[in-house]
């Protein structure tokens, strides 16, 4: 379900006030987009964030890599069988290095793919929340409540009660 494209942005210089606002706004049923300069577990707890499914990408990628490494080395050795150094044609101890390296390589690349797909990076088109402030990468926390226009008043009240220093309203 996509979030509403209108809403109110609260700028919070403190973490505890931001988490208070998050809790209150969630209780009121608003959907939120929270900006923070650094990952804080307090924000995740307040939002009730679930475990990220990136790990599935990692697991699938890593196993694909193991399989690819085994298949590549085995198949290429059988395709033109040539005894070298008296070793087996399919020499698994030697192939284990290839299997290992491809496990890591594909595991890492698919983790990044997972991050890009799930985190919606790189951003193209309209952002998830229409409002942003450059201080969110410096020191401020931002809480954007996706709200219909008629509920702006409620949101503004909750934000300033919780301790927001600046409440910006999407005027479009």
């Amino acid at each position: 379900m996509s979030k509403l494209r209108t809403g109110v942005l609260g700028v919070f210089p403190h973490l505890d006030t931001a988490t208070t606002a998050i809790r209150k706004l969630r209780k009121e049923g608003f959907e939120l987009t929270v900006y923070s300069p650094t990952p804080r577990h307090e924000v995740e707890e307040a939002l009730g964030t679930k475990e990220s499914p990136v790990r599935i990408f990692t697991l699938v990628g890593a196993f694909t890599g193991t399989a690819a490494g085994t298949a590549l080395a085995t198949w290429a050795s059988i395709d033109w069988p040539l005894v070298v150094g008296g070793k087996e044609i399919v020499a698994l101890p030697a192939f284990s290095v290839i299997m290992f390296e491809l496990t890591i390589l594909l595991g890492a690349l698919s983790t990044v793919a997972g991050l890009f797909i799930l985190g919606r990076l790189p951003h193209v088109g309209p952002a998830e929340a229409p409002m942003y402030h450059p201080s969110f990468t410096a020191g401020n926390f931002g809480v954007f409540a996706h709200a219909p226009r008629d509920r702006y008043g409620d949101v503004q009240r909750i934000m300033s009660e919780s301790g927001s220093e600046e409440v910006l309203v999407d005027q479009r």
């Binding site: 307090e42 290095v97 390296e101 890591i104 595991g107 990468t137």
Partner: protein, 476 residues
């Protein structure tokens, strides 16, 4: 925590002089301000050395590989040297991340940049030493109409896989870690050109909860994948030697010995780069005595492991009763290359022992000098493994001596130019301090002090606002 009064604040015990999140950004962005003459001079020197590298390589291509000394000795030595340097960066960024070491955050970006550029430098040498670098793709398992595949049982092919995987994964890890910081640079820079470039590189990062949620997990898994990778890469490099039956190479201790040596040389290189950056940019608030102390201990530990490996190699040569093995090891310290052998033992195993003394560990200049010695010693270690072993194997009629040519010397010097060129450009254009991650170890800004159950983190402490250790540390 209960005794907080007016003049005390909560600070991270690792960075007692960092006041706020904003200060981190200000200080990190200071690194990206226009550079002085010294920087430009260094950069020009590096680029000139790269020119030397290109000249030497063109000479190689035109006149053939005979222009370099025997058995690619200097090229392979330098290759192993640079791959080894790379290891400390991944150790600090990935392994210490898994261990949740809070002193990692301030230094890991430098270390990781060093890794990427060191592996980039190392990767030059396998390409150049094949003589016709444009045929490098013959190393890769690509389909051809003759159905010829590379030999998967050969350690040299393992090396191709290990080094390319390492270069790819460490670059990816480096870039992913940079994304939030490039976004911070985008938000605070005033230069319109930079804003545009950072805007593209940051991939539109805004630090939303969705982004952080997946980012932190992805970062964790990348670290978890990079950890075994870093241990494997130098093991595979060591097997290039250990799998052959050359006396002095054919030992089972090689993998752990190489990995410990790699971390030793890498940590030394981190210190060699960190101290000047610290002094020039006055980063005392970030590179605190704690950081140097931990790095010194890491250096000391790996030095002891390397020293043990040296001793064990000699013991095995003696105890095995293998004539050739014994002869090679005896030759290392008494033969034609005695100076290299003793440099390696002295610089790697003995000089770092000075770090047991706290005064030396805490003295930046002394630590810097020790780290330079270790760098030299570690180059000699690879030299000693390669040259005396090859030049003194089995039959006396096969003995030879290395004649280093100007091409060898230029390639070696040029590799330093290549490395420092990238590193200097990195310092100027990308955030060298990880703003987002340093904030992780800082106590978060709180309005209500009473309600801060968060502040009971052990990495935080209450300090008096004014007198800080920072200034004292800075003048030392």
């Amino acid at each position: 925590m209960a005794t907080e009064t007016e003049n005390t604040v909560v600070r991270s015990s690792f960075h007692p002089d960092v006041e706020s999140y904003e200060q981190v950004n200000r200080d990190a962005m200071r690194l990206l301000t226009p550079p002085g003459k010294g920087y430009l001079a260094l950069l020009a020197m590096s680029v000139m050395l790269v020119g030397l590298l290109v000249t030497a390589e063109l000479h190689n291509i035109i006149y053939g590989l005979g222009m370099i000394g025997d058995n690619w000795a200097v090229m392979i030595t330098t290759f192993v040297f640079w791959v080894g340097i790379g290891h400390a960066g991944t150790l600090i960024s990935a392994i210490l991340y898994l261990f949740r070491a809070p002193w990692r955050q301030a230094i890991y970006r430098f270390a990781e940049a060093m890794t990427v550029f060191a592996v980039l430098t190392a990767a030059l040498f396998p390409l150049l030493h094949i003589g016709r670098p444009w045929f490098f793709y013959w190393l890769l398992p690509l389909p051809s109409q003759r159905h010829i595949w590379p030999n998967f049982r050969s350690p040299l092919l393992w090396d191709v896989f290990a080094v390319t995987t390492y270069l790819t994964v460490s670059s990816v890890f480096f870039f992913i870690g940079l994304i939030p910081d490039i976004a911070a640079a985008r938000d605070s820079t005033t230069d319109p050109m930079r804003k545009k470039v950072y805007g593209v590189l940051s991939l539109g990062w805004r630090g939303t909860d969705r982004e952080w949620r997946h980012f932190t997990r992805a970062y964790l898994f990348l670290a978890a994948l990079a950890t075994p990778l870093v241990l494997s890469v130098h093991s595979v490099v060591s097997w290039d030697f250990a799998v052959s039956i050359v006396p002095g190479w054919h030992t089972t201790i090689f993998a752990p010995y190489f990995v410990a040596g790699a971390i030793l040389s890498g940590v030394a290189m981190v210190v060699t780069l960190m101290v000047p950056v610290h002094k020039i940019f006055r980063l005392g608030a970030y590179f605190t005595p704690v950081h140097y102390d931990r790095l010194a201990k890491l250096l000391l530990l790996t030095s002891c492991i390397v020293g043990y490996a040296y001793g064990m190699e000699y013991f095995m040569a003696y105890y095995s009763g293998e004539l050739y093995e014994r002869d090679v090891f005896w030759d290392r310290v008494t033969g034609d290359y005695w100076w290299a052998g003793w440099s390696m033992i002295t610089f790697n195993a003995f000089v770092p022992q000075l770090l047991w003394i706290k005064k030396i560990r805490q003295n930046l200049n002394a630590f810097f000098i020790i780290s330079v010695f270790v760098n030299i010693g570690m180059w000699y270690e690879r030299f000693v493994i390669i040259v005396p072993s090859l030049s003194h194997s089995y039959e006396p009629w096969k003995f030879w001596n290395l004649h280093m040519t100007w091409v060898d010397a230029s390639l070696l010097l040029g590799s330093f130019g290549w490395f420092f060129m990238w590193f200097l450009l990195f310092l100027r254009y990308l955030p060298g301090l990880s703003m987002a991650e340093i904030k992780e170890v800082l106590p978060p800004p709180m309005k209500h002090h009473g309600a801060e159950h968060h502040a009971h983190d052990e990495a935080q402490m209450v300090v008096e606002t004014l007198p800080t250790g920072y200034k004292e540390w800075e003048v030392r």
